[in-house]
Each structure stands twice: as structure tokens, then as C-alpha cells.
């Protein structure tokens, strides 16, 4: 380090922040209750002020959109979000910044929840471990809601002889089930584990932007009520993809969907910025790019896709909201709008979103396979190449959702090519997992079984995906139950079962309790077999030609639907057992040792429960975290030169 390049400063030049009053300042008075109160007050005020002004201003457009009424509800929902964020203290940071009253160290520690006990889980707390657990509970709640709606859907489809629900309510529950589950799946791994585990895993004291971390969670929290309230106000009757202009016909409650997506996109974007910056800039000394745990790479890959493509979805909903609230015509063909515009904007995120869900779960499975096999990762480079390939190709596959829209039949050829090509990087990921399993003695613990389950489901989902990527086949399958079964194999079979395994694996670190594997396994396997029954039968219904999103159908589809419904109830029972295992283990499980799986990864080296800044002394990394195993007895060719063998991988 040459002295010539170092600029010299007097320490006195940098003013130190001054402590005004008790640490934390305004945020001391804020918690979730003040947030909800402020949100409700602002929403109610907006509603009454708006009903005086917006409703008389509004008109009814050519396609019967009630402009004034919809604008009123949009304003009310947005007021709720802003009021909630103000009430929980989210704006204190930016205001203090612009007033020049920076945080002191004591302020920062208060915000991180020091000495706050349980209360920190109900506040705008910046500690990444608190945010991780908040995300975990949020994901469980969303899965509960989405699962309940799924049971209602399958009940309707299982009762083939009459309508259980009215058609409009049925359409509302399929739409709400879809979007609630999509949100839950997006946060299921990257939320709890990306926030709680990733910073410890790379040897950081916290996330790069702790206050943005709290912001991303509480934005999500604020985003969900409009979505659920909309169910009581007529609901989203147009599927999770809310195709236009059908969406314009939905009742006013469906405005909640648009507000939720717009706010959730901010939440996801902020979380993605935070996760990427943390991994890039906060790694421990010695953690070069070939020593970063593969889970962190997976989270980065998923964050990049979310960061780049989520705004497309967000703006599609901004414009859709504008169509309803202001009567503009982006998607209303009578007045110059185009339905294909909506479909393009929507699927530009809509497809990468699947990889946003599946990639973190797959990366988590790699960490798990390594530990429970006590073998090195088969190939770090191929895994990274796989992630990179998926991220790269994911940008150019969206039109395979639009083969049958008639938008650009000539485009079907290149997009068929790109879609089938993406199976090659996916194959890399399968290869790494299979190679890690290869010839290893398996510790058949529940997380390890999730690896097997994920691989099986992913292969089934992948192969059926290859069918669907083929335009001629899609000409039969598009919009049929076959598609539904396929993406449930990917999102639920790979994404959710993977997330379950990952949460069980990191459960001891997150909650300081061991997970009750006996009960948990019963739930896990029940859900797995129910899952196979449900969606294998659904493949059959799709092959026979049952369209999706119908509540009554030809008698020819009865048997497969009955089987599917039975399977769905088995999944429901299994998931409830699994949830019971989560709750009882969390409340009264065996106290967990610091490193119950004998892992070499950094997060298991610190104590349990994890202290406020994660490590008493920051670690220095000297190898990748996959240094397990004994020399290979079959490897006679080069066993005498061990050093050479491992050079490439180190």
C-alpha cells in the first residue's frame, strides 16, 4: 500500500452524529400497532375525503369501468400502505438523513433490537435475524391462506355433481390462491433463509442495508391486507395472471391485487438489492468468489432475475390500475389498447418468476446434500454455470406462454428454441445434485430426503415442461390442466418441498431448537404422496382435455378429478402435521447445539442462538465450505497425488 495514494484527513473534519434524546428517537414510539392504527386512520380519512371528490369526478368508460369508485379504492389501499409505513417508523430514517441527524451507534443498536426482547419482532427492527424470522412466519401464514383456498378449489372440483361455490366466488378463490401462493413461494426461501442465514454464511455482521431490510419486510406486510380484503369485496375473478380486459370487469375489490403487486414489487426489489450488495461487498476475509457457498450464489441468481424483471410486472399493474382508476386505455382494445401488450409485460416477469422460486430451493438442496452425504459438492463451477445459464436464458423465454395468443406465430420458432435450451443449464443443476449423491452414504435425515424429493419432482416437472415448450404440443396443452400439474410440480414439488427441507435444515440455527423429525417426517411424506396422487391425476385430466380454471366439466374428467381431490386432502393433512411439528419444535423442542449437522459452513460455526452481530470475532476463510470425505478408493489413477486432484476445486 503506497502512501502516496492515501489522502490525509483530519479526523475532526468528519462531524460525528450527536445523540438527541434516548437512542432510537421517533422509532421508540412505533410498533406494529401504531402502524396498523396509522394505516387504518389514513385509509378511512382518504376514503371519506375521496368519496366527496373522486366519485363525482369519475365517469363510466366505454368498457363499463367505474372510474371514480375504482380510483377511490385505489387511493384508500395506497393510503393504508403509506399510513402503515409511517406509523411503524419507516420514514424516520429518510427524514433524519435529509435533516442531517444521522444515526449514532446507540441509535443503530436500538434499531437492531438490542435489549428489546420479544418486542423487537413487532417493530421496525433492522437486525437481519429478526427480519428472517418475520419472513418465516409471514411465509407460513401465506401458505396457510393459499392452502386453505387450494382445498376449497379441490372441494369444488371433487364435487362433480353440483356447484359448491358460485362461479364468481370460485373464480375469486382460484385467482387469490394463485397470487397468494406465488408471493409465498417467492419469499419462502429467499425471505427467511436469505435474510437470516446468508449474512452469517458469508461471515458478515448484518446485511449491507439493514434499514432497507426492515423496509422490504414491512412493505410486504403492508401489501398483503389489500389482497386478502379484496376477497371479501368480490375478489380477483380473473386468475393470478389477471388478463386484460377481463380484469376491468372484476369487482372493485380486485383493485387490491394491483396495489398489492405494486407494493410487493418494491419489497422484492429492495430485498434483491440488499441480498446482492451483501454478498458482493460484505464477505468475510478470504472468501474469494470460488469459496462463496453455493446457496449465496443461488440467492444472487434469483435476486438478479427478480431485480431486473419484477418492474415489468409492476408496471403492467400500474398501467392496469390506471386503466381502472383513470379510465386510460393501455389494455382496452375499444379505445386503442392491446391485450398482447399486457400479456408481454406480464410474462416478461411471469416466466423468470418461476426460476426466482426454484433456484434458491435448488441451491439450498446443494448445501444440504453436501452436509448429509459428507462429500464435497460435485462441481462448484458447473453449479455456478447452471445458475448463470438459467439467469441468462430466462430473459428470452417468456413468449412460450403466448404461443397460442396469435401474437406473433413466427416468433414461436425462436422461443421454442430458447425454451428448450434452458433445460441444459437446468441439467447442470441436476448433475451437481446427482454427482453429490453419487456413492455417498446418506444420512437419511429429513432435509436430505427433501433433496431426493426435489430431484424427482424437478425431473417430472422438467420433462413435462419440455413437452409444453414445444409449440405443437402446447397447441393441445395450453390452458389445460396439464399446465397446472406441470407448474405445480415445479413450484410446489421443487420449490415448496425444497423450502421445507431447507427450513428444517436451518431450523436449529434460526430457532435454537431441534426440529422434531419424527412428526415432521410423517407430515412430509404424507404431503409427498398426496402431492403425487393429486398432480399425476391432474396430468391425466389435462391429457384428456380438461381446461384449467373451470368449476364444472365433462363427466369424462370425473375420475381423475376425484383422485386429485383425494390427493389434495392428503396433502392438506400432511401439511398440517408438518406445521404442528414446526410449531411444537419451535415452542418446546430440544435445545439445539451450535452445529448439530457437523457442517463446515460458517453459519454453523457461530454460537446458537446467534448473538446480535453474529460473530464475536469475524472469521477468516481459507477454503470452500465443502471439505468433507475421505480419498476415493476407486480413484487409483491419481490417488498418490492428492494435491493435484483437488487443486482445481480449491
Amino acid at each position: 500500500m503506497s502512501t502516496a495514494t492515501v489522502s490525509i484527513h483530519e479526523q475532526a473534519d468528519v462531524p460525528q452524529p450527536v445523540q438527541h434524546g434516548a437512542p432510537g428517537g421517533f422509532v421508540r414510539h412505533c410498533n406494529i400497532l401504531t402502524g396498523i392504527a396509522a394505516g387504518l386512520v389514513l385509509a378511512v380519512v382518504t376514503y371519506f375525503v375521496g368519496s366527496l371528490w373522486l366519485v363525482p369526478w369519475g365517469t363510466t368508460t366505454a368498457n363499463y369501468v367505474q372510474v371514480g369508485n375504482d380510483a377511490l379504492w385505489a387511493a384508500t389501499f395506497i393510503a393504508w400502505v403509506i399510513g402503515f409505513m409511517a406509523g411503524i417508523g419507516a420514514f424516520a430514517g429518510p427524514i433524519r438523513w435529509s435533516l442531517g441527524r444521522d444515526l449514532t451507534h446507540a441509535d443503530a443498536e436500538y434499531l437492531a433490537g438490542k435489549d428489546l426482547g420479544r418486542a423487537r419482532y413487532w417493530k421496525y427492527t433492522t437486525d437481519h435475524k429478526v427480519v428472517g424470522l418475520q419472513y418465516l412466519v409471514m411465509a407460513l401464514v401465506l401458505f396457510g391462506v393459499g392452502g386453505l383456498l387450494a382445498m376449497m378449489i379441490r372441494t369444488e372440483l371433487g364435487v362433480t355433481w353440483k356447484e359448491v361455490f358460485s362461479p364468481d366466488f370460485y373464480n375469486a378463490i382460484i385467482g387469490t390462491h394463485g397470487i397468494v401462493m406465488i408471493i409465498a413461494m417467492i419469499i419462502a426461501v429467499a425471505g427467511p433463509l436469505g435474510n437470516f442465514i446468508l449474512p452469517i454464511m458469508i461471515g458478515a455482521r448484518d446485511m449491507a442495508f439493514p434499514r432497507l431490510n426492515a423496509l422490504s419486510f414491512w412493505l410486504l406486510f403492508a401489501a398483503v391486507p389489500p389482497l386478502l380484503i379484496s376477497l371479501a369485496m368480490g375478489g380477483i375473478r380473473d386468475g393470478w395472471s389477471v388478463y386484460q380486459p377481463l380484469s376491468a370487469q372484476a369487482p372493485t375489490g380486485a383493485i387490491g391485487y394491483q396495489v398489492t403487486i405494486i407494493v410487493f414489487a418494491f419489497s422484492t426489489g429492495i430485498a434483491a438489492v440488499n441480498l446482492i450488495t451483501t454478498t458482493v461487498t460484505m464477505r468475510a476475509r478470504g472468501m474469494t468468489w470460488n469459496r462463496v457457498p453455493v446457496f449465496a450464489i443461488g440467492i444472487i441468481a434469483s435476486s438478479i432475475m427478480g431485480l431486473i424483471w419484477f418492474p415489468m410486472f409492476q408496471y403492467s399493474q400500474v398501467l392496469a390500475l390506471s386503466d381502472r382508476a383513470f379510465g386510460s386505455s393501455f389494455f382496452n382494445p375499444v379505445n386503442g389498447g392491446s391485450v398482447w401488450l399486457y400479456e408481454n409485460l406480464f410474462w416478461l416477469l411471469g416466466h423468470p418468476e418461476v426460476y426466482v422460486v426454484v433456484i434458491p430451493a435448488t441451491a439450498a438442496m446443494m448445501e444440504i446434500a453436501v452436509v448429509f452425504m459428507r462429500k464435497p459438492l460435485f462441481s462448484y463451477k458447473i453449479a455456478v454455470a447452471g445458475f448463470a445459464g438459467v439467469v441468462g436464458i430466462s430473459a428470452i423465454v417468456w413468449v412460450h406462454h403466448m404461443y397460442m395468443t396469435g401474437w406473433a406465430p413466427a416468433a414461436n420458432y425462436p422461443f421454442m428454441l430458447s425454451t428448450e435450451l434452458i433445460s441444459i443449464p437446468f441439467g447442470f443443476l441436476v448433475l451437481v445434485l446427482l454427482g453429490t449423491i453419487w456413492r455417498g452414504k446418506a444420512w437419511t435425515s429429513l432435509p436430505m430426503m427433501a433433496v431426493y424429493v426435489l430431484l424427482w419432482n424437478k425431473v417430472v416437472g422438467g420433462i413435462t415442461g419440455v413437452y409444453l415448450s414445444d409449440t405443437p404440443v402446447d397447441q393441445y396443452m395450453h390452458g389445460s390442466m396439464f399446465v397446472v400439474a406441470h407448474f405445480h410440480f415445479m413450484l410446489m414439488g421443487a420449490g415448496l418441498f425444497g423450502a421445507m427441507g431447507a427450513i428444517v435444515y436451518w431450523f436449529p440455527k434460526m430457532t435454537a431448537r431441534m426440529f422434531d423429525e419424527r412428526i415432521g417426517s410423517i407430515g412430509f411424506w404424507t404431503a409427498f404422496f398426496g402431492f403425487q396422487l393429486t398432480f399425476m391425476s391432474m396430468f391425466v385430466a389435462g391429457l384428456q382435455g380438461q381446461p384449467r380454471r373451470v368449476l364444472q366439466f365433462d363427466n369424462a374428467f370425473n375420475i381423475s378429478n376425484w383422485l386429485s381431490t383425494i390427493g389434495a386432502y392428503i396433502i392438506g393433512i400432511g401439511m398440517l402435521i408438518f406445521l404442528a411439528a414446526v410449531i411444537t419444535s419451535w415452542r418446546s423442542g430440544v435445545k439445539a447445539p451450535a452445529n448439530p449437522w457437523a457442517s463446515t459452513s460458517l453459519e454453523w460455526q457461530t454460537q446458537t442462538p446467534v448473538p446480535l452481530e453474529n460473530f464475536p470475532v469475524l472469521p477468516v476463510v481459507t477454503s470452500d465450505p465443502y471439505d468433507y470425505g475421505v480419498p476415493d478408493p476407486y480413484d487409483t489413477a491419481s490417488s498418490k497425488d492428492q494435491a493435484k486432484q483437488t487443486v482445481g476445486a480449491r
Binding site: L246, T405, E420, G435, D470, A598, S623, T646
Partner: protein
């Protein structure tokens, strides 16, 4: 925490040591002689043989309601069959490794809170396996792409996307049908037959039918199930498709895009009839506008 790795790095200045790698054939012999390798290969073969019949099952389910009623549907089913057969080995090898791993390479359990600390071979990469896997998946993917593009060109030609009707192999004059979707009915208009309209589709067998499709309100999807054609009915745009029905009978038309309240009931039938019956039907409908 892992300790510092003190093994010396290979010196790039030195010439590479001879590796004494045996010839590929001998290496394969050595590999296949290992008990686990033999068993996994056998298991893969057995599983492949078990999975291939699924292809017939797929066809069975697709044909339950009377298809294929057109060359397009026949090509789609052929594609399904071929895809299932070629992906069977890949699925089988994955399943074989997963199953064998649970029984063949041993399992361990924890005793209480003590991790079992079993010993597994430290395999970091294997160029042979990697090259084999990546070539196999790439070859498969490229085969599927080439097959798919060929098939797409074929069915597009059948559907008149790229081959004009009078250049079709059987150069009969096409029946033109204007399909209008609206919540929640289909209307079929025959512009060449004095614009007669009908809520069900009636078409003559072995004669090309050409569809112009649009919608009056939201996006619908015109799906003639057993004929194997499907196209969105978009408001504000006209889309096209076409087919030559080759089988007499009554088949299903469904809406395959959520279109609101009674989406589930937005279905009708397509009746494929002989030319004589078609002419009779046209005469019967002629002059009586049903719109």
C-alpha cells in the same frame, strides 16, 4: 471452520506429469465391473422399460374422447409419443441413482444429537461423467428442438399458417369460418355461405377449414379439442388458424382462457359431416340468420 490447506499447488512451470490414463474402453470395463455401476445400469434399463409404456398411456388418455380427428392432432400425438420415449432414459437414470443411493451405498442415522460423521468418497468433479451428461442432455434438447421445429412447420402448413389453401395437397376450396367469442358463447359465421351463423360448428370432412377468430369482449381461447387446434380470440385483433378434419363425428370445442363468470360453460360442439350432409345443413340454415 476448515483449517488451512497446506498441500502445495501444482507448479505450472514444470511439465505435466504423465497420468497413465488407460484407454477409454479399459476404463469403461473397469467401471462397469464395479458392483454399483452394473446394478445402476441394469436398474436404468428396467426403469426405462417401465417408463416407455407411459407413452402408450398418454395416447390412450388423449384419444379417450374420439381423437385424433385431424392430421394436426395426429402430429401432436406423435410428438407427445416421441418426447415421452426419448425422455424416458433420462428420467430412468435419475430415478435409478436416487433409488440405488438409498439402498446400495448405505444409510446412516444420528444417535441422539450426535451427527453420524460417516465417511464418503471425496469426489470433486469427474470430467467423463460431466461430458457424458452435458452431451446427453444437449443432444436430447437439440433433438427436441429440431423435431419441434419440423413439427411446427408441418402443422402450420396443415393449418394454413404458411401454405395457402389452394396450394394444399388436397386443393379443394377451403371453408372459411369467422369465429366470434363473447361471454360466454361461440358464434360461427360462414361468410362464403351467405353469412349464415350458427352456435355450433359444422364442417365437411376432408376439406380444409379456415378460421378467423376474434372476440367482442375479453380474451377467449378457441380450442377444438380433438381437432388439435387452439388460438386466442382477442378483442381488437383477428387471429387465424385452420385444420382439415379427417374423421366423422361430434367433437368438443372449449374455451381455454379464463373469460369470467361462466367460463366453464363456454363450450360447444364441432360436427364433422360428409360433404352431402354439409350442403344439406347449409341449405337448411341458409337465409335464416340466427344472430
Amino acid at each position: 471452520m476448515s483449517t488451512v490447506d497446506q498441500r502445495p499447488l501444482a507448479d505450472p512451470e514444470q511439465p505435466e506429469e504423465p497420468t497413465n490414463r488407460p484407454a477409454p474402453r479399459d476404463r469403461f470395463r473397469e467401471w462397469i465391473a464395479r458392483p454399483y455401476a452394473r446394478r445402476i445400469v441394469i436398474l436404468t434399463v428396467i426403469l426405462t422399460l417401465l417408463i416407455v409404456p407411459v407413452a402408450f398411456l398418454v395416447l390412450h388418455f388423449m384419444n379417450l374422447s374420439g381423437g385424433p380427428a385431424s392430421p394436426v392432432m395426429y402430429e401432436i400425438e406423435k410428438t407427445m409419443f416421441v418426447f415421452t420415449v426419448v425422455s424416458a432414459p433420462l428420467m430412468a437414470v435419475t430415478l435409478a441413482i436416487l433409488l440405488y443411493s438409498l439402498v446400495g451405498w448405505g444409510r446412516v442415522k444420528a444417535k441422539g444429537l450426535e451427527p453420524p460423521m460417516q465417511e464418503s468418497p471425496a469426489i470433486r468433479g469427474n470430467s467423463t461423467a460431466t461430458v457424458l451428461w452435458i452431451s446427453a442432455t444437449s443432444v436430447l434438447a437439440f433433438f427436441l428442438v429440431v423435431w419441434g421445429i419440423t413439427e411446427l412447420a408441418t402443422i402450420t402448413a396443415y393449418s394454413y399458417g404458411s401454405t395457402a389453401a389452394d396450394q394444399q395437397p388436397n386443393s379443394q376450396k377451403a371453408v372459411v369460418v369467422n369465429v366470434t367469442g363473447q361471454q360466454w358463447v361461440w358464434t360461427f359465421e360462414y361468410p362464403d355461405e351467405q353469412g349464415i351463423t350458427s352456435p355450433t360448428l359444422v364442417v365437411p370432412v376432408n376439406r380444409p377449414v379456415y378460421f378467423n377468430v376474434t372476440s367482442l369482449d375479453v380474451v377467449h381461447n378457441f380450442w377444438a379439442v380433438e381437432l388439435g387446434i387452439k388460438i386466442d380470440a382477442n378483442p381488437g385483433a383477428v387471429t387465424n388458424t385452420g385444420v382439415t378434419p379427417t374423421k366423422l363425428g361430434t367433437f368438443n370445442i372449449r374455451c381455454a382462457e379464463l373469460c369470467g363468470l361462466h367460463h366453464a360453460y363456454m363450450e360447444t360442439t364441432v360436427k364433422v359431416v360428409t360433404p352431402e350432409e354439409y350442403q344439406a345443413w347449409v341449405r337448411e340454415m341458409g337465409g335464416k340468420r340466427m344472430a
